[in-house]
Symmetry: C2
Subunit: 211 residues, 2 copies
Amino acid sequence: MANGDLTPTQPADLSAAPTRERILDAALEVFADKGFHAARMDEIVDQSKTSKGAIYFHFPNKERLFLALVDQFADLLERRVLDAIRPQNAGMDRVRVAVETCLDTFSKYRRPAKVLLVQAVGLGAAFEEKRSAINDRFASLIAIYLDEAVRLGEIAPVDVEVISLAWMGAIYALVIRWVTTGEPTPNRIVAALVPALLRSVGYEQPRREAA
Amino acid sequence: MANGDLTPTQPADLSAAPTRERILDAALEVFADKGFHAARMDEIVDQSKTSKGAIYFHFPNKERLFLALVDQFADLLERRVLDAIRPQNAGMDRVRVAVETCLDTFSKYRRPAKVLLVQAVGLGAAFEEKRSAINDRFASLIAIYLDEAVRLGEIAPVDVEVISLAWMGAIYALVIRWVTTGEPTPNRIVAALVPALLRSVGYEQPRREAA
């Protein structure tokens, strides 16, 4: 069954993985060129050099293909954030690095980010549900590190749920603005937003070791 | 022409205003009961006790009617914010009152807020454009008062564009969460978010005079 198999990190079996990834890569290209609505499954078949059968085996329709790309991007983002956090000390260092890595990932992958965030509007409720689930996943991640920072006494107790949702809202608003208009640039966003978020929980950054 | 006439504060002529408002009130009721997709223009005609002709004179289709409700709510929100700000001193007091009034308005008008924010997903690009325009309008308002606070020396210079977009993103994320799930409550949002936003620009609230 391809139905539940939307996470590229857990392919149904190893031999299927390359085909599935080829299809996802091709779909991203076609969506970027034509837009979600104009894109046709046939074009994705051609571009991926797979077969109609292979595509429909993995993705029953164009919408599912698009949502699988969104999941793929969310997985990439999460992997990059977790990798960046690992060498950091517990507490606010992790919070800071998580936010910086998140913004950095969008900046490095602007093309897929734009396709996935801007064209998604056409999908309505299906995308909104997905977006909301991914948002919650990252808000929970932020909440974990904020709780940690409170426990370590680096920041005073705060309403971690409200703050983590607020942070995700702030990050999302700026990323969406940047991918659609090109402004403010990621550098400017990081420079202004990261200190603002840290200050919002009463944390003054001691020293930046590296950008 | 009904085409450009989406702002309830500027009706085409005085005699048309009551009908237009009756239609908008009825539409809100029907959308709240049935949802945007299931709602039919005929039901709105019945509910408003006007005529099909009157409705189509003001609103060429259901989508325009919905977007007019969104504008009506945005106008209400802006009016309430500006009224609340007027008696305040320039600077951070205005910023604080603007954010509090915004959250308070959503809390007082939960039903329309829910209809307009949650059902809007079905409208796709048309709503997204509207939402983005309204978001910009309020971000600009916040930016004006932040600039003022910087000029008065109440806060250190910040990237006002980034900060005002971030604040709107944070507020929107929490309002959407609350209208869809009932949590966090508006009181909890105000209690946690307002101080966090003020701290994010390095401002520590001196004393709360009133809630």
